[in-house]
Amino acid sequence: MEDIVCNRCSLLCDDVLAEIGDEGAKSLGLCRLGHTHLESVANQTKIEVISREDGKENKLSLDKALEKAAEMLISAKHPLLYGWSRCTNETISEGLSLAKTLKAVFDSSASMGLSQSMSHNVQNMKLETDLDEVQNKGEFILYWGSNPVESSHRHASRFTVFPRGENVPQGVESRVIGVIDIRDTETMKMANHRIIIPHGGDSTLARALIDDLTGKTPIKTPILGIPAAILVGLSQALRKSDFTVIFYGTGLVNSGKTTENLSLLEELVQTLRKLGKNIYAMPMWHAPNDMGVVASSKELDGIPVAFNIASGKATQLSVKNTLQRLAAGEFDVVLVAGSDALVELPGQAARGLANSSIIYIGSTGTLVDNRAVLSLRAIDDIISGLGSMTRIDMKDIRLKNWDESKQKTQNVFYVISQLHQLIQTKLKN
């Protein structure tokens, strides 16, 4: 078996082994999600292209497919380049340049919460700690509106709850774990503090904690129906810990009060810092490289959300804009790269996408792959082993070149670069 890097979720595990033989893929250390992904892409040896017309599927050569895709994008009135969350950083950069060339809108699932979090003051486009430091020092781990047991399977075992570290020699026994969510999640099973709040109750809870910690209004009565003793216990745990990390997720950010919740999170962090505590907030997003999208687009123009490059200069779009425009069917041609957008997008936007002309470039077997008028099924990056991705703590992880990688270089990056070159040539002529 050889060292590989798993590209299936934002943890980008690089301590795992795999091999591909006659009986398919074998792995050590990959979680179920990672292994299933490896299995599903293991046997593809070259690009496959399918075109669909009037319900009929035809195989095409790569050259013909690139030609067709280029024509479709050049003649599109309102092209959208969407996806990117499973792509390498190199592919994302190429996608951004392609958006400039085409004067297209560029967007990704990162703008459904992560970009808003990273551009809010609570993060200021940076993280002040990383998962390795959390492993070594994290004393109180608080999952707020995030559920690693369901989405990032190895989060707790690799970094936050169970591993031993410099200041936490007994692992889980040296740490305190809290979970705040709107339901009883599997993650709560490992927690000492389990707080179930009503939907939308995050801001009330955050305010109550801040006011208790500052001494302004000590918690004495139930809040949101939660007994005072339980809330005081949480507040005391925050006060006691010298190294707290709040892993906040979509439950906190996308519960309808994005800015208010993020601002309260920031206030909570500042309150504890004033009490002399090390406390950090870290977003907890699941898509493999949403953080890479945030980092790459920041470099482009300092704008971390979606882009409209139609004017030749990147201007910020709100997430609603792209989703609403998708729902209204405003994009005539959508290039979906490295994402299963039909699964990731909310209902109406997904329906809008399904009704547009889709060119798909990515791994085989996604919903959008089966719906596209043109599907370019590229070698998955876990196999090609080329390029890098950005872990959820903003650490760049280089994919590993392994035996399976040899000559299997026709990945999404390759296809997007070829397409971009062709489009540039056509536009010049």
Binding site: C13, D15, V16, L17, A25, K26, S27, L28, G29, L30, C31, R32, L33, G34, H35, T36, Q135, V149, H153, R154, A156, S157, R158, F159, V161, F162, P163, R164, G165, G171, V172, E173, E186, T187, K189, M190, N192, R194
Partner: protein, 152 residues
């Protein structure tokens, strides 16, 4: 049968009087759930007024104290391959130390290893519930969030 430390904690005097080795009631409850201490190790619990709580705690932890016939079972259907069991099992940490730091088990010496996306018990005989240790360890079961591990 699984014991939730919170259930045990609620039955303790909750005074953090520091008369037991773990010093706080929450730490005591965690150790109680693992079988590392017994109800008799909490002096205030033996005093008048706690008879009912004492009885309930003894009933709850009784199965823990018998490991004459024991076993560890793993339901692969439920397992997500999260690796919690690999990292918490004291045997794994002793025989392949990087697992204690959260790394995947890669050798063939641990009790648990994640093979092809799910946990496998590859050296059951090393589990400390069996002779010669006969310890009341059940941390793997306690921290398997999907209830894939069952110990009896």
């Amino acid at each position: 049968m699984k014991l939730n430390p919170m259930d045990l904690y609620n039955l303790l005097p909750k005074t953090n009087c520091r008369q037991c080795a773990p010093k706080t009631c929450m730490a005591f409850a965690t150790k109680l759930a693992l079988g590392d201490v017994t109800a008799d190790d909490c002096p205030p619990l033996l005093e008048p007024g706690f008879e009912k709580n004492l009885k309930t705690i003894r009933e709850l932890i009784a199965p823990l104290l018998s490991t004459a016939e024991t076993g560890v079972k793993l339901d692969e259907e439920k397992c997500t391959g999260c690796g919690n069991c690999v990292v918490v099992c004291p045997v794994d940490v002793a025989v392949e130390p990087p697992t204690g730091l959260g790394k995947a088990a890669k050798g063939d010496v641990t009790v648990f290893r994640i093979d092809n996306g799910v946990a496998k018990i590859i050296n059951l005989e090393k589990c400390r519930r069996f002779p010669p240790d006969r310890l009341n360890c059940r941390v793997c079961e306690q921290y398997c969030c999907t209830d894939a591990i069952e110990i009896w």
